[in-house]
Amino acid sequence: MLKINNLHARVEEKEILKGFNLEVKAGEVHAIMGPNGSGKSTLASVLAGREDYEVTSGEIIFDGKDLLELSPEDRAREGIFLAFQYPVEIPGVSITNFLKTAIAEQREYKGLPPMEAREFLQMMKEKKEMVEISTNLTNRSVNEGFSGGEKKKNEIFQMAMLNPKLAVLDETDSGLDIDALRVVANGVNKLKSPENAAIVITHYQRLLDYIVPDFVHVLFDGKIVKSGGKELALELEEKGYDWITKELVNS
């Protein structure tokens, strides 16, 4: 589904990703862990198409398409969803209106007829229940005045509504209490299917107790330096990132 080859990217003249490689197949969950500054959020931003990140070399192939050629909106329409680390507040734009527009744009891109109002409302209802988000919240402006937990729930709610092929969760666990973490993880798990995949970017192992990854990769200084199964996350938790850096220096 996704193939990243030798990706180099920089922001404001500073090279952050220095030869990143990753392959994600349908049905898989990949966790990317790493210390602060290792390039985790840059990877998320590059995948979503944020313009202040410049890809200097390498390629990203998504479902056979050159992702780097696509605008942020076309990437979303192709099925990439980024759950933001810091979701933006948009006063005056209601979540319902926003999602209605997003779904309409996605369907138009795929050549599908517009969704019936009734069908849309039914879907809203189902997905709200799935991610335990209240109507109270979805009637409000996008993220305006939301708590940290509410913002993250809203990200997962949007993900449920847009039903992406590849979800990229950027530090979705940061700033969450244990209840919100459980709700968010439940949402992700329920949305999991053999046809879609997820990349879970996190600093801590905690989230991976709830979203169990098939693969764990350690990102350090812009490259994946170690890959393994879910037990690698536990090992990291126990030994800390210093363990990896030392191992790198010794080798």
Partner: protein, 441 residues
């Protein structure tokens, strides 16, 4: 240089026109003579403002004040026939008033069967009938000595509109005023509107200003005087949709008395040049004013909003929010003055101006001015000018919205804060439709 000479000659010609029409301008009421004389003298001494004039620094009127402009002294029957209301801006059961080139059009207005407590008539008729309410208010709020356009309007208006709401009456029906200019002969129209709300009355007015898209261009000069007496409430919604070759100076002078409330919402949507002078005097204690504005100049349009809130007595609240979107080579000017006089203790006065620039060629000149002479007051003002937030745009695009849709959604939300202030649902919808059209243009 030539434009300055044109301005001078226009001034002289208007004074000559005044002399020629002197008897007609009395409107069969000799009591008007002093007022007309004082007005033309005031105009003669100040003349049209140049860019050197502090209040007109950012507004170049020279080009618009064409020497061929002339004020009409009668209403053309053909103009009355071709007049049309814009149904989308007429709330259910509204009372419809048509003003054409400064004249009250009896043929198009519907003033039979007015609700109890409401008097509406042609201003010229009210003056002819020597209506005491007209003569006691006319020119006392908008003083000819204070501004060239007020002086000129006071000297030359031939007609207009008189609205009187009697004590204790709450008028459920909106009053819809459609003010249209037909500039077939380089019309320099002078429109005068007088609103008097007696004690504890309540009224809502929709003022739709439009000019027929024709050549040659026209210039309109409108003066509105509004007296809001004790405990009364008035809401005035002004929608300005001028043609691409017409200029308009609109002066609104409101006087608000004890426990009374004045709300003014302005939408400057279109026009070669629009200047709003909105002056609100909070004359007595415990009164309120709420001023909201949205403006959207594009292409080479200029929309200039000058507002003044004058707090004269204690315990009054004023609140003001003006938001603009400037596109193309458009120019917006905002100048918001708040005076808090020595007597006006316990004043709450807030003002905010926000601007979004959509293009390289867009210009905004914004200047909040607070002058406070009392010591126990709460006042604040703020002004910001910027572009659409790139993080918000990216967030929306990352969900599949095109750049165009994302911009439209953000701009609609931005305007929505002002539209929300309009109390009538159908008017809000009509405004949303118009603004969305401007956004996607």
């Amino acid at each position: 240089m030539t434009s300055t000479i044109q301005g001078v000659s226009l001034k002289e010609r208007l004074i000559t026109e005044f002399e020629l029409q002197r008897s007609a301008l009395l409107l069969d009421n000799p009591l008007l003579d002093n007022f007309r004389n004082a007005s033309i003298k005031a105009f003669e001494s100040v003349g049209f403002p140049s860019k050197k004039h502090e209040e007109y620094r950012y507004l170049n009127l020279d080009k618009e004040l064409n020497e061929d402009l002339s004020t009409p002294f009668s209403l053309d029957a053909k103009d009355e026939e071709s007049f049309q209301f814009d149904g989308s801006l007429i709330p259910e059961n509204a009372i419809r008033i048509s003003l054409i080139n400064g004249f009250f059009s009896k043929q198009n207005s519907e003033i039979n069967n007015l609700p109890k407590g409401l008097i509406i008539k042609s201003l010229a008729d009210a003056i002819r009938e020597n209506d005491k309410h007209v003569l006691s208010v006319l020119g006392t709020l908008a003083k000819p000595s204070s501004d060239a356009f007020i002086a000129l309007n006071s000297a030359l208006f031939m007609d207009g509109l008189f609205i009187y709401v009697e004590k204790g009456h709450s008028i459920d029906n909106h009053i819809h005023i459609s003010q249209e200019i037909h500039p077939h002969n380089m019309v320099f129209s002078q429109t005068r509107i007088l609103l008097v709300c007696e004690e504890n009355s309540n009224v809502q007015v929709v003022h739709h200003i439009k000019t027929k898209e024709t050549n040659p261009s026209g210039f309109s000069n409108t003066v509105i005087e509004a007296e809001i007496e004790r405990g009364a409430k008035a809401e005035w919604l002004s929608i300005q949709e001028e043609s691409s070759n017409s200029a308009h100076v609109i002066t609104t002078q409101a006087q608000v008395f004890r426990n009374a409330e004045f709300k003014h919402i302005s939408f400057g949507l279109q026009g070669k040049l629009i200047r709003n002078n909105l002056n609100v005097v909070l004359e007595d204690s415990n009164c309120e004013s709420h001023l909201y504005g949205y403006y959207h100049p594009s292409q080479n349009e200029v929309i200039d909003n000058h507002t003044l809130v004058d707090h004269r007595k204690p315990h009054c609240n004023s609140n003001e929010l003006y938001k603009g979107v400037v596109d193309g080579n458009g120019t917006a000017v905002f100048n918001g003055k708040i005076y808090v006089q020595q007597d006006a203790q316990k004043t709450n006065a807030f003002q905010s101006n926000k601007n979004i620039l959509l293009s390289e060629g867009a210009t905004v000149n914004t200047k909040p001015q607070l002058e406070i002479y009392a010591d126990d007051v709460k006042c604040s003002h703020g002004s910001s000018t910027g572009i659409l937030d790139p993080d918000q745009l990216f967030y929306l695009r990352s969900r599949g919205l095109s750049l165009e849709k994302a911009r439209a959604l953000l701009l609609s939300a931005y305007a929505g804060e002002i539209i929300e202030e309009v109390s009538n649902n159908s008017l809000r919808e009509a405004l949303i439709y118009r603004i969305e059209k401007l956004i996607s243009a």
